[in-house]
Symmetry: C2
Subunit: 140 residues, 2 copies
């Protein structure tokens, strides 16, 4: 996974701009997934809403970020591991949403178990969202 925003942009053949750097930094500094709205309030530099939308779309296309569908029908974004590329996203991990703090995180260590589909169905992609309480929010 990338740890440096400038190198990442270079790697993906994307121009280095303030907005892109700030958005990457935001993801690198925060372990939880971020929505468009999260970024809008997080980035104090006042980037245009539209630019943030377009940056997110570009990052998903390039394989830098992946979408995480929220249970309520929103979308959040999180960094991809390095296996992702423009051509294909490879995600095998589950997503966890804490019902207390609201944070959604990638649990890279938990792989999505295999499922056997009924006759005639072909599996292409799987998304698994687990909701519950995260370690930080467990009452002691």
């Amino acid at each position: 996974m990338m740890t440096d925003s400038k190198n990442t942009l270079k790697t993906y053949a994307l121009r280095h701009t303030d907005c892109r750097e700030s958005i990457l930094e935001a993801f690198l500094n925060k372990s939880a997934a971020l929505s468009h709205g999260d970024l809008e309030s997080l980035l104090q530099d006042g980037f245009d809403r539209v630019t943030i939308y377009r940056t997110l779309k570009t990052f998903v296309e390039k394989g830098i970020l992946h979408k995480i569908p929220d249970d309520e029908g929103g979308v959040k974004y999180a960094l991809c591991k390095e296996e992702c590329s423009s051509h294909e996203h490879h995600h095998d991990h589950i997503h966890f949403k804490c019902s207390t703090c609201g944070d959604t995180t990638c649990l890279e260590s938990v792989h999505i178990p295999a499922i056997r589909l009924p006759e005639g169905y072909v599996r292409e992609d799987v998304n698994m969202l687990v909701q519950g309480i995260c370690p930080n929010c467990i009452p002691k």
Copy 2:
């Protein structure tokens, strides 16, 4: 699962109105999940958008319908099995979205497998969306 819209409304202590009956009928007649937009174009009776929103919300609260988060961040709705109530939804099945015809369906026969979360995480609810090709869309 309910098969009759009038009885269902009575069972859930909801008033019988044209809109509610039409919406229930739509779900009973179509095996795929429906979004608000789907219903709007499906129901030719011209019910108000707002009424449809409110009806869907009511049905989810009562345990008649459950939400299915779409991979792109939308929401669809599908009928619950009878174990659901106002208090709690009990769903253990996966959802399948066909990338060809776009239909999302409940595969009641496929249960969500157990997953072992890392230390400190508590599981409350799980949602699993499988994308691929449904039997109807498999090229012969």
